[in-house]
Symmetry: C2
Subunit: 307 residues, 2 copies
């Protein structure tokens, strides 16, 4: 089965203690699509400007990503410049030029509307909801958001979250959205807003999935996938979208949708996130092998596996 | 087999969003001993003042803890008052009165010197080393420390760490001790100082054990035990010492010492830490059943267990 990712395509200039890259291909849709491409057929909807060249599109096409949904607009592609210090968990944004992304109005091509799985990357909530309505036959809708929308468009966001089956955000976002400093209580409040499951990303500590009572089968407990402690995080940009790509891509590759599938998907999300941060930009995600992916999945399992 | 815990006994006044308690029994040796008492025979060495009454000693003795190593000094017992806000991970210290603890010079009674397992709670490193020398036949020495000693007595601490087989500290302490912002690299630096293994406590995210090459058997990877997301952390005081009690107590209860035992010990550490924080002071640790402990161990396993 296939997955459709909707989000941004960007050029990123990124500096970290490990070096610097200029105007490399990035954006939530790019990281998502590359990560998901190792599991299933991927389509994307995004917008680019005149500076998006054939070589950039080839990065996606070489991984078999269907790029027909990429809209082309007059002007420049979204540009972001940021810097990571010794604490790689915090990006310092130096430049944000929305460019053509400012007027992005995602339209799902007719040929994409039968896509079974949908991921709504971090864009304006009303636009996410708009896409969700075009895809109301989807088996599972995953979505992301960020503090900016939680703080500036809370009403729209709460409406949009009803469209998501699985919301994937980080600890701070869950607490902000749930108005609660206790993570499990905040998670319960967010689940009460509509989604069947909530994936909370903890960065280097992995991620936890909380389920709505009865959702995806029986079970009382959340599930936590650990992350491998990585010695050299060169560039954390895109880690969350790569997690989403591994998570949604793995789910789309499976015949059924139950808690066991979602648990494995949590591991594959962590696996793809961990690869993404090892090199700048999408470099590592462009040339993985299935042996590397399976090897890391096993490493992650062993990390918490008791005999 | 039995375990000896050396550390503080204190009276704590603790406030959190869930309430307040006045002058309840606390201190690293107390939490350690109560947690370990569910697994094995426990002895402690600590110092108390005139205000330490029979009722306080009974808290330990009811759990079968051998209290003969408690020294009695003229003056008052160590007193601490602190407050936790909405972010329960940060304590605000209101009062610290070292009292008799200021002159604490731990001496291991002759009858204790054959104890197979030793835990050196967070006290001045030179005193930890002094105890370590008295117990050089121990099968395994665990130790704790804190930022104060890392910053103020680094030379003494580095000497003392050589005595530890397993050092148990938190993320920030590992990074400070290893002079490294990357956790896995900091962990390698700390292991190079002498210990066979390093347990890094991540609070609500669990804990990771890193091994020296070849220590406790074969294996390439660290091991991570997750923590249950707890809805109501009433009082995080003593969580680390309770972790150490579960960890060391479980190890002492086993016939052999290998990676599989240490991995299970990581889970039992997390289990005891999670109980400790559910109530103020040591209340929860005083009255657990083995069914409750085994039940939570299973819950923790299921939290990361893939079919």
């Amino acid at each position: 089965m296939s997955v459709l990712g909707v989000g941004s395509i960007a050029f990123d200039t990124i500096a970290s203690p490990y070096g610097k890259v200029e105007r490399v291909l990035g954006g939530s849709a790019t990281y998502f699509a590359l990560a998901a491409s190792y599991f299933t057929k991927v389509r994307i909807v995004a917008v680019v400007g005149d500076d998006f060249a054939s070589e950039h599109e080839q990065v996606l096409r070489r991984r078999g990503v269907d790029t027909c949904g990429i809209q082309r607009a007059k002007g420049k592609t979204f540009f972001w410049a940021g810097e990571y210090g010794a604490n790689v968990n915090e990006a310092k944004t130096l430049v944000t030029e929305l460019n053509v992304f400012e007027q992005f109005h995602p339209e799902v091509p007719a040929g994409y509307r039968d896509t079974e799985f949908l991921f709504l990357g971090n864009i304006q909530p009303t636009l996410q909801a708009h896409v969700g309505r075009q895809m109301n036959g989807a088996k599972l809708v995953g979505g992301d958001t960020m503090n900016y929308w939680i703080n500036h468009t809370p009403r729209e966001l709460v409406e949009t979250i009803k469209v998501f089956d699985v919301l994937l955000i980080n600890d701070a976002e869950v607490k902000a959205l749930g108005h609660e400093s206790s993570l499990p209580r905040a998670a319960q409040r967010v689940l009460a807003m509509g989604p069947q499951a909530l994936v909370v990303k903890h960065g280097e500590y992995g991620a936890t999935i909380f389920f709505r009572e009865g959702a995806f089968g029986i079970g009382r407990h959340p599930f936590r996938a650990p992350a491998l402690p990585i010695e050299e995080v060169h560039d954390p940009t895109g880690a969350g979208d790569s997690f989403a790509g591994g998570f949604m891509g793995y789910i789309a590759s499976q015949g059924e949708l139950n808690r066991e599938v979602l648990k494995r998907a949590m591991f594959y999300g962590g696996v793809m996130g961990s690869f993404a941060v090892e090199r700048f930009g999408t470099e590592r995600l462009q040339n993985l092998t299935s042996e590397e992916i399976q090897g890391r999945f096993q490493t992650f399992r062993e990390l918490t596996h008791l005999e």
